[in-house]
């Protein structure tokens, strides 16, 4: 199972003005089975891409195909929407619930929409998913009273209905507490064994912990497509760190290509990208995915020049 995204562009007209916002520019990605992280800041175009994949939006141009050409027909995602939907699990970034409905009833309702028409099978699936998402005990309660995390888990249960081959989860971990988050990511990665799972997030850890592949997107463009570990490898000895007083920061900004600053016990930890030793008190540091992300965003790596061999 592969998802081939080629040359997708999408622009919106911005409200009343005639100004056009380019949400996606010529995006091409090839996404195999497994967890795939789509990392980018808010407003980068992640959700637009996710919604296009989830058949909810139309790109201006480009094509998307889902399937394994060697193992059966390939689905044209943009045209064969219903075929995609039959194998799709989608958890939007933001969603609500019918406050008056009960968890079990609403899940059962969605199960029918997902084509599980046999009552017995549906009952089984609903129970399994409610247990899986730890909602079994509250299945007879109204969704209106659910907390954010419970609601999120309910959304996951809906997305998991029908063993999707294409799972699209848009910023799913935002409302989850740490334990729920881990639980949820585990769930996804298991699913990823046989399916394409695309996880969009602005949280680097979500990707670094689980995704076998990732892309970094900003302002509608894919800046980097890589395997996280290889990307980190590629930055070996390019990331340097120095801890400075806050007041010294502006001076450093002028002199170095700072990729990130972080507060640590009242002082500031500065990471810079430099292919050779910048000296001046900077020490080398083992890069992590966050450094990859920030380096990419700052333009040091990525943008049509894969730094690692694919």
């Amino acid at each position: 199972m592969t998802l081939e995204i080629s040359n997708i562009s999408k622009s919106y007209s911005n409200g009343r003005s005639t100004e056009v916002v380019q949400a996606l520019k010529n995006v091409s990605l090839s996404i195999p089975n497994g967890m795939y992280g789509l990392l980018g800041p808010n407003g980068a175009g992640k959700s637009t891409l996710m919604r296009i994949l989830a058949t909810l939006q139309e790109p201006d141009e480009g094509s998307i195909r889902l399937g394994d050409p060697s193992a059966g027909p390939v689905i044209d995602v943009l045209k064969q929407k219903d075929e995609v939907r039959q194998t799709l699990g989608y958890l939007p970034q933001e969603f609500g619930v019918y406050p008056k409905a009960r968890a079990e009833d609403l899940l059962d309702y969605f199960a029918i929409l997902k084509g599980i028409t046999q009552r017995k099978a549906r009952k089984e699936v609903v129970e399994a998913l409610l247990r899986q998402t730890n909602l079994w005990d509250v299945r007879r309660q109204r969704l209106g009273g659910f907390s954010g995390g419970m609601r999120q888990r309910f959304g996951v249960a809906v997305a998991l209905l029908g063993n999707p081959k294409l799972m699209i989860v848009d910023e799913p971990t935002a409302g989850l507490d740490p334990a729920e988050r881990v639980r949820f990511l585990n769930l996804l990665s298991e699913l990823g064994e046989n399916s394409v799972v695309i996880l969009s997030t602005h949280i680097v850890e979500d990707v670094s912990e689980l995704c076998t592949r990732m892309a970094i997107i900003n302002k509608g463009e894919i800046l980097l497509e890589a395997e996280p570990l290889k990307a980190i490898d590629g930055l070996q000895s390019h990331i340097w760190r120095r801890i400075v007083e806050k007041s010294a920061l502006s001076q450093l900004e002028r002199e170095y290509r700072i990729i990130s600053t972080k507060l640590l016990s009242g002082r500031t930890v500065v990471h810079i990208y430099s292919e050779e030793d910048p000296g001046n008190g900077f020490e080398p540091v083992a890069p992590d995915l966050e450094d990859v992300y920030f380096s990419t965003m700052a333009g040091h790596i990525g943008t049509h020049k894969p730094v690692v061999a694919l």
């Binding site: 919604r51 989830a54 058949t55 909810l56 939006q57 139309e58 045209k79 219903d82 939907r85 039959q86 799709l88 989608y90 958890l91 939007p92 933001e94 969603f95 609500g96 619930v97 019918y98 406050p99 008056k100 309702y109 969605f110 029918i112 929409l113 997902k114 084509g115 599980i116 028409t117 046999q118 099978a121 549906r122 089984e124 699936v125 399994a128 998913l129 899986q132 730890n134 509250v138 109204r142 969704l143 209106g144 009273g145 659910f146 907390s147 419970m150 959304g155 809906v158 997305a159 998991l160 063993n163 740490p178 334990a179 729920e180 881990v182 639980r183 585990n186 769930l187 298991e190 699913l191």
Partner: protein
């Protein structure tokens, strides 16, 4: 400061949205059209200026009504936007006080609404002053008319409505709640105020919109001159009403303020709390507790086990999905407040409505199923029916369902589910359909419950099911689909509501937009009818064709909705069209093709029926033809024509084939004093008039098949007194159906038609246009509605009809046919075996003139025969035959009794009954009326279904009606001039009053008089022409009979009856001149003593009103033990001219003074005598034998007085 800022921000925010502007445009356009189109004014009474204060007020009321259903989002958005957008945590935590926040939002909404309502006045202004209006229709410009209408109608309406909308929206946290607030108000105005409470006078008080006090009260009360001149004033009930609604508004504000809190909104917490009050069985819907995961922390190895189950896609799954969506949609509505309102509140209220309506004229009716159903149903397009709330609710629910997922922010999840778009669209449709089915089921339950409460158990469940689920549901479903499609296509909730409601307005008032044909108005069809005798008759077939045609349209619309269904984020129309192209699968294309094909086929078939087989004319074409007829042939109006002396008819009725063949011969006599050289024959549209033949040589000059006029010239003129014969044939048979359905006259059972199908002689003045603007538009000179009382030529005009009638009428063997006259003989023809039909024939002949209207009937009647013998020595007998529906027998005894007593009394008092026979025929129809022609009474089925309980004090209205109709047998031939209705109806009611008094006693008389006083056809107003020239129902049915009754109390009954007897004797003879009110007046004058001539004058010749008032009364015992009462009173007499202008005239009149004892029967007063009372204050002394208690001036209300409650006073000792 903050307050101002909140108002400013809210106002500007909303003004920048599109919808306030759309509301303005819609109100502007619709009020423009309403002003321009006379349609509403035609529904009301006579003409007035386009810009008359009344016209402006009336349009303002309708504008307010429209505003109410359209503009709810203004208040709703102001009240609930923060909650719906989730912004409220930011706002509630600012240091703004509740008063500033709510007040600011409310004031902004109110100001905006008031500005929007100005569009109504602007629309009227444009309607009046933009070019294209007949200048005659525009009166002087009076800003005050616009200002008062706005200030007294629109402004208080807007205030009360905005508070209620604001309250519901703030309370629910949903802008749509405001619509619900509007529904409550409309419900109040249409349902509660108009039907439940109207009788008690509370209706006008409680009406929140003004429908009652402007459209009903003022429209009926004001004279045309008043309507043109008088401004709506804040006085009386209008003032109370306005104050009441402003206070309700203020109370609404207070409640909103008190119940509002800057608090977290947990879903529907406050509503859940309220809901628990109603549905305790549901238990508390407390916040779900967050379950603590069994194991805290991360567990990497949780197995993912989701059982692999079979999933199926395709048609059956789509069906399954559709049903699931339907059930969920139904559930979501049922558990909402509006759903509860529709399914619980409305059916519950329907019970008292039905109970309340099961009476007519104060007498209970048998609650037959069809009568109950008629209270529970209404054509969808009837915008003034109490059920108008249902289409509004349908629009509302359609919006809720279309937006259900997106408003719950579940749209993306649902949209990404597999399954076809039609499954969700049709699912929602079926959810609403299910709601309507349940609603109608409950309505049936309400109807049956009401029947049980009235001790009626013949439920006719089949009829309930047929009408509610066959006819009414179809109407609702077609509209439901339209409402859903509108919401889907428009894809904006508020604008969707706006468009759907405009669609409804279009359906209801299509003629306002110049569209009349049922093929062009969505969902429209000819109406259906049902009566006990006829059943549905032939009314269902055209109905079905039309509904089938519209169902095909609905299917096409559904396809459009499926193609344009918004799924996902793309809502721009361009992208939706692209998507639609992709969604146009083979199946969808086929469905659309089939729908389009059906539209074409059904539409063509219908068009063939309505416009090819039958004539179709728009209202303006009909008027044009009437004008053309007059322009072309009015020149012959004065050409002398022969008059009918005798008619012979042979009528063959074929009920099953709905066909009637008439062969007839007119015997025409030249009664004029000049030669007649040409004969004009008016034929009848819609029937085939054939083989017109004269028995002397004629030349055929002209046959106008369009205007139905033929002219023949006689080779040899017809000398005065000479006669000729005209033979003709008329064929009436169905040709498919008309645009407005099928003429029900000939039915399988219950045929009834009149001589209106027969050719008439001469120019037909009755075919002329009457309405003055129409006449102006077609270049016709104005004509009075009726000729002046002093128009001698008109008085002498006896027309060309009349004469004797002899009829042989044949019908199916199981039916009885009735025609005017006495039954001479009856026989059957046809084979006793073998092919061919056995037919039954009846031969009737009238003695003397058959009157103007001849009724012919055929049905499976049972004939009830009785004979009346004149109790005097004359030995006269009258054969009375009652032709009635076999099922209706309960009324027969009462009917016969009343006929007998009437014959007794009238023969004695006014002269002999002029015939040896009397036919009484029941005709098909649900009405309760009765009608009289010479020798024949006819009544509708409803008349047989009064539910009288024969207790001592119950009022027997039906018997009084029979007495009235019997009295028409003594109506003298009268001229068709002003006062004509007085000659016929006033006299007949006076006869009936006297008949009731003499046969039923004074208590029944009092009940009848009270009934006539209470149920004034129009309440007494100082207006109009004097009784001598009286035309309208108030004059003829109320004022006239009362005037005669008053005279009989002042002059004595013998004198008045004697005058009437003399009138009958003088005018009943064949060649006597036609009578007018002047003849009546002359007879009355002759019997009135000089001292009372003034009274006769006051009652008949001018419009007089007496004003009497008791200032005080004291009593003291005299030495002899009797009591002397000193009465201080004032009196005044006023004469009003035809414009309603009043003039006080000196009074020195006889007025009855009544003094009664405590607790004594008011019938036996201590004192009741007439005393002279003059204008102004005065004191009168009266001596009575016992201790007096109450004094009353004119206690029997013999004089015309508007305010009688100040006549009575307790006597002080």
């Amino acid at each position: 400061m903050k307050f101002r800022e909140i108002v400013r921000f809210e106002f500007i925010y909303q003004v920048r949205r599109p919808w306030p502007w759309l509301f303005v445009i819609v109100l502007l356009v619709l009020d423009f059209l309403m002003t321009r189109d006379g349609s509403v004014s035609e529904v009301l009474y006579s003409e007035f200026f386009l810009n008359s204060p009344f016209g402006i007020a009336k349009t303002t009321v309708f504008g307010s009504l429209l505003w109410l259903v359209l503009a709810a989002p203004i208040a709703g958005d102001a009240a609930a936007r923060d909650v719906t957008t989730g912004m409220y945590p930011l706002i509630y935590t600012t240091p703004v006080s509740k008063a500033e926040y709510l007040g600011g939002r409310f004031v902004a909404a109110l100001v905006l609404n008031l500005l929007i309502l100005l569009a109504v006045q602007a629309g009227i202004l444009l309607g009046v002053y933009l070019p294209g209006v007949d200048a005659e229709l525009i009166g002087p410009f009076r800003p005050a008319a616009f200002v008062t209408a706005y200030a007294y109608i629109a402004l208080p309406n807007a205030f009360a409505a905005t508070t209620i909308q604001f309250f519901v929206a703030a309370r629910t946290g949903r802008a749509m709640g405001a619509y619900f607030g509007s529904f409550l108000i409309i419900f109040m105005g249409f349902f509660v105020a108009s039907f439940l409470l109207f009788k008690q006078g509370l209706g006008t008080l409680l009406d929140p919109i003004g429908i009652r006090f402007v459209v009903e009260d003022i429209a009926h009360l004001w004279t045309p001159i008043e309507k043109n001149r008088r401004l709506i004033g804040l006085e009386g009930i209008v003032l109370t009403n306005r104050l009441l609604w402003v206070s309700i508004g203020l109370a609404g504000l207070a409640v909103t303020y008190l119940s509002f809190g800057f608090a977290h909104r947990t879903g529907s917490a406050s509503w859940s709390r309220m809901r628990q009050l109603f549905t305790p069985f549901r238990g508390a819907t407390a916040k779900a507790y967050a379950p603590v995961p069994a194991v805290l922390g991360a567990i990497a190895d949780t197995p993912v086990y989701v059982p692999k189950v079979e999933r199926r896609f395709g048609f059956t799954t789509n069906i399954h999905q559709m049903l699931t969506v339907a059930w969920a949609s139904f559930g979501s509505i049922v558990t909402s407040w509006a759903g509860l309102f529709m399914l619980a509140f409305i059916p519950l209220l329907a019970i008292p409505v039905v109970l309340d309506q099961m009476e007519s004229n104060g007498v209970p009716l048998v609650p037959t199923t069809i009568r109950v159903i008629s209270e529970l149903t209404a054509p969808l397009a009837d915008e003034l029916s109490r059920w108008v709330i249902i289409p509004f609710l349908i629009v509302f629910f359609a919006g809720e369902l279309v937006w259900r997922e997106r408003e719950a922010r579940m749209g993306e999840i649902t949209d990404a589910m597999p399954g076809s778009d039609w499954a969700s669209f049709l699912g929602k449709f079926m959810g609403l359909a299910l709601l309507l089915v349940v609603f109608l089921t409950l309505q049936i339950g309400a109807g049956m419950l009401a029947q049980v409460m009235m001790d009626y158990y013949d439920f006719q469940i089949g009829l309930y099911l047929k009408i509610m689920f066959g006819l009414q549901l179809t109407d609702y479903l077609l509209f439901t689909l339209l409402a859903l499609v509108v919401h889907v296509v428009v894809d904006h909730k508020y604008i969707g509501h706006l468009v759907a409601i405009i669609a409804f307005v279009f359906i209801a008032l299509a003629s306002l937009f110049g569209v009349e044909h049922n093929l062009l108005i969505y969902g429209a069809s000819p109406g259906w009818s049902y009566t006990g005798m006829r059943g549905f008759g032939s009314s269902l077939l055209p109905w079905l064709w039309f509904k089938g045609y519209w169902a095909a349209w609905a299917l096409l619309l559904a396809v459009a909705a499926r193609l344009l269904w918004v799924r996902g984020r793309e809502s721009s129309f361009r992208v939706r069209l692209q998507l639609a192209r992709r969604r146009l699968t083979r199946h969808t294309a086929w469905t659309a093709g089939v729908a389009a094909g059906l539209i074409l086929i059904l539409g063509s078939y219908i068009f063939y029926n309505t416009n090819v087989l039958n004539d179709y004319h728009t209202a303006s074409e009909t008027k044009e033809r009437a004008a053309a007829y007059e322009l072309r042939y009015a020149r012959y109006a004065d050409t002398p024509q022969p008059r009918l002396a005798a008619t012979k008819l042979h009528i063959e009725i074929y009920p099953e084939r709905r066909t009637v063949e008439i062969r007839g011969t007119y015997h025409l006599v030249n009664r004029s004093d000049v030669d007649i050289d040409s004969i004009h024959v008016a034929t009848v549209p819609g029937v085939e008039t054939q083989a017109l033949r004269f028995n002397r040589p004629v030349a055929h000059v002209l046959t106008d098949e369009k205007l139905f006029h033929r002219i023949y010239t006689l080779d040899k003129p017809l000398q005065p007194g000479d006669s000729l014969q005209l033979a003709f044939q008329v064929l009436v048979k169905p040709h498919g159906f008309h645009e407005n359905g099928v003429d029900a006259s000939v039915a399988a059972n219950g045929t009834y038609f009149t001589n209106s199908w027969l050719p008439a002689i001469g120019y037909q003045k009755s075919r002329e246009l009457l309405h003055a603007p129409d006449r102006r538009e077609h270049g016709l000179a104005p004509r009075p509605v009726i000729a002046s009382l002093y128009d001698l030529k008109a008085i002498e005009d006896k027309g060309t009809g009349g004469g004797t009638l002899e009829t042989v009428v044949g019908t199916a063997s199981d039916q009885v046919a009735v025609a005017p006259g006495a039954l001479r003989r009856t026989w059957t023809t046809g084979p006793s075996s073998g092919p061919g039909q056995v037919r039954r024939y009846f031969h009737y002949a009238t003695a003397g003139s058959a009157g103007g209207e001849w009724g012919f009937f055929s049905a499976n009647y049972v004939v009830h025969k009785v004979q009346w013998k004149n109790p005097d020595s004359s030995g006269q007998t009258v054969d009375i035959q009652i032709f009635h529906n076999p099922q209706h027998t309960a009324h027969l005894d009462r009917l016969v009794r009343s006929i007998r007593t009437s014959l007794d009394y009238y023969s004695r008092e006014f002269g002999p009954y002029p015939r040896g026979y009397l036919s009484v025929v029941e005709g098909a129809g649900n009405g309760t009326g009765m009608h009289a022609e010479g020798g024949m009474l006819t009544y509708a089925e409803g008349f047989a279904l009064w539910n009288l309980n024969d207790t001592q004090d119950s009022f027997d209205f039906p018997s009084a009606v029979v007495a009235h109709e019997m009295a028409h047998q003594w109506t003298v031939p009268y001229a068709n001039v002003e006062g004509a209705p007085v000659m016929s109806e006033s006299l007949a009611w006076y006869y009936a009053i006297k008949a009731v008094e003499h046969t039923r006693g004074s208590e029944e008389l009092q009940r009848l008089l009270n009934f006539l006083r209470v149920s004034q056809i129009r309440p007494e107003i100082r207006r109009g022409e004097p009784l001598l020239r009286g035309l309208d129902p108030y004059m003829s049915y109320r004022k006239g009979p009362f005037a005669l009754y008053t005279l009989s109390e002042y002059l004595g009954e013998e004198r008045v009856n004697g005058a009437l007897r003399s009138l009958v004797e003088k005018h009943r003879k064949g060649e006597a001149p036609l009578a007018t009110t002047l003849d009546l007046y002359r007879e009355l004058k002759a019997v009135t003593p000089d001292t009372l001539q003034y009274l006769l004058h006051d009652l008949f010749e001018v419009n007089t009103y007496w004003e009497l008032k008791t200032d005080g009364a004291t009593a003291k015992q005299t030495g002899t033990g009797s009591w002397e009462v000193t009465l201080a009173l004032q009196a005044r007499k006023v004469v009003a001219d035809s414009a309603g202008v009043e003039k006080e005239v000196p009074m020195n009149d006889w007025v009855e003074i009544g003094i009664s004892e405590q607790g004594k029967d008011s019938d036996k007063p201590l004192y009741r005598q007439k005393r002279r009372i003059r204008s102004g204050k005065q004191t009168i002394l009266v001596t009575v034998p016992y201790k007096p208690d109450l004094i009353d001036l004119d206690p029997r209300q013999l004089l015309i007085e508007q305010k009688t409650d100040d006549n009575r006073k307790e006597i002080k000792l």
